[in-house]
């Protein structure tokens, strides 16, 4: 009986190996089903979904205007202290003082891309960008000022 079982085992083993090798052979002859991407050679054709969270940016329109009012809601919402809003006071044409943003400092190295700041912003001033290649040679380059120099707030955004 032992011998019969032994021979059965041997044939069972060969059969199971052959089944597995058949699969391997299938992919060996079907190159079209290979799905690896040739990054970074395919950089130009790489399409990231529009919701991809790569880094926080502040969009500016063609007149170099943004929508940020300097309300610091994003700073309060951020769990990591990534955003620092530095405000100043503008003098409006009718002589009143108005709170405005001086700098919105963003520390990319502290950001976990959680999207809470974007959710918290009442005037849609910031959004997530799809960039993902963030490596730099010097850590100081990771600290960014999101509002462009000389930019001011859009008309009508409160």
């Amino acid at each position: 009986m032992f011998l019969v079982d032994y021979i059965k085992d041997v044939f069972g083993a060969i059969k199971s190996l052959a089944t597995g090798m058949k699969r391997t052979g299938y992919y060996f002859t079907h190159h079209k089903e290979i799905i690896t991407q040739q990054y970074p050679d395919n950089r130009d054709t790489l399409n990231l979904p529009e919701r991809f969270k790569g880094e926080v940016v502040m969009p500016h329109d063609e007149h170099n205007e943004h929508r940020c009012t300097g309300c610091t809601a994003c700073e309060l919402a951020c769990p990591n202290g990534t955003i620092k809003v530095i405000t100043k006071f503008d003098i409006t044409p009718d002589g009143k003082k108005k709170k405005a943003i001086d700098k919105l400092v963003y520390h990319l190295e502290l950001c976990t891309m959680c999207n809470l700041c974007v959710e918290a912003c009442p005037s849609d001033a910031i959004k997530m960008a799809q960039t993902f290649e963030h490596s730099v040679f010097d850590r100081s380059q990771l600290t960014k000022v999101l509002n462009k120099p000389g930019s001011k707030i859009m008309e009508g955004v409160e």
């Binding site: 083993a13 597995g20 699969r23 979904p49 919701r51 991809f52 969270k53 891309m113 999207n115």
Partner: protein, 381 residues
């Protein structure tokens, strides 16, 4: 009880538990077979394992303490960093606990989206485990087969949640965005791909005689062992202990869904392997039931800008890909939790390792440990 490690001192002076002829080796903390920074101090007699002592602490980030300084909206994202393969389900547990405390009613649409995402996460996690498991026993190809399907799920996640692993898609009261317009189509594509490929898993690995010989009868756990060590998830179900939170304490819409709790009774490595494979099919069943029936409506309930839990203690539990995750919040009535405790499945599942492989050969250690599906940052928060 914590004991000072014996590895650094002169090995000849260490009092060996096995007596004459035994020696100690260290696996990890930097070792591919331990799936992370787990450090095992193994006492051997020849090839036989006498004792295994896991040393933790290499990836301790004090997440529980961190959560105490974050508000109820902010702390959810941190939990993605515990069990990063079921990040979504971790977030779900936290959101549920906050909702329980605040008594927020979650809209039906959000509930369905949450469950869909949970099940997709579970499939992705089991896929990765399957590939890593095969690699633990020396088969390299299955890893890439598993990643092919998993990548499809990750793409779906990326499109709807904006990230592939640490999504942070759950917010108290619902989900952060509505699903992407392509979501349903892509999930259906995935279901089709999965069904056309799942037979490969059996052909390549399950039916393989070498694989079966290495799994069957190895690392046997009885139902009593599993219960006394507090194991949950597929580890417990592989020994015939029914512990699926989705069935026993249903949350969200799980009580209205049709799916089976997978149970195997053998208790060996192969049983745990089969439980996970079959669980993927059950998750596919759930996704199929829901994908065409996402109700219309809000994806997020209206909540206050600042969440304050009333004074008291709140506990919720969910079934992650690895077992039962409990979230316990003690609130003093403020905007941040007074104390948070996570009951993670990985820790209990790791505790049984010594009991499981004591007396086995060292070659079986990695194979048996693979079936526990350990994620180290979950064990060591």
């Amino acid at each position: 009880m914590y004991r000072e490690t014996q590895i650094v001192s002169d090995v000849s002076k260490v009092p060996l538990e096995g007596g004459e002829g035994t020696f100690t080796i260290n696996v990890g903390p930097q070792h591919p077979a331990t799936h992370g920074v787990l450090h095992l101090v193994i006492t051997l007699n020849g090839e036989t394992i006498i004792n295994i002592e896991p040393h933790l602490g290499y990836i301790h980030r004090s997440i529980e303490k961190m959560c105490e300084s974050l508000t109820y909206r902010q702390f959810i994202y941190v939990t993605s960093r515990m069990d990063y393969l079921s990040a979504h389900i971790n977030n779900h547990a936290c959101a549920l606990c906050v909702e329980k405390g605040m008594q927020i009613e979650v809209p039906a649409r959000a509930q369905v989206i949450r469950v869909l995402m949970d099940e997709l996460t579970r499939i992705a996690s089991h896929e990765l485990w399957w590939g890593a498991m095969a690699m633990d026993v020396g088969a390299f190809t299955p890893f890439f087969h598993a990643f092919r399907e998993r990548e499809t799920i990750n793409d779906i996640m990326e499109e709807t949640c904006g990230a592939r692993l640490t999504m942070n898609y759950m917010v108290p009261g619902g989900v952060m965005h509505d699903i992407h317009p392509n979501f349903q189509k892509r999930v259906k594509d995935f279901l089709q791909l999965y069904k056309s490929k799942i037979h490969e898993y059996d052909e390549l690995v399950t039916g393989n005689i070498i694989f079966q010989n290495r799994m069957k009868g190895v690392g046997v756990l009885s139902a009593e062992d599993v219960i006394s060590y507090g194991c949950t998830g597929p580890v417990a179900r592989g020994s015939g202990v029914s512990c699926d939170i989705r069935k026993l304490y249903p949350y969200e819409i799980y009580d209205k869904l049709e799916f089976d709790e997978v149970l195997e009774t053998a208790g060996d490595s192969f049983a745990r392997y089969l439980v996970r494979l079959k669980e993927m099919n059950q998750s596919i069943r759930i996704v199929e039931q829901l994908i065409d029936n996402i109700p219309e409506g809000d994806f997020q309930a209206k909540t206050k800008a600042v969440l304050k839990l009333p004074k008291g203690e709140f506990y919720t539990r969910v079934e992650t890909a690895r077992g039962e995750l409990g979230v316990y919040i003690v609130s003093e009535g403020g905007t941040t939790p007074y104390r948070i405790k996570f009951r993670s499945p990985g820790f209990s599942n790791l505790s049984i390792l010594n009991h499981m492989v004591k007396g086995a050969k060292i070659g079986d250690l990695i194979a048996a440990m693979g079936t526990l599906d350990l994620v180290i940052p979950d064990i060591d928060r």
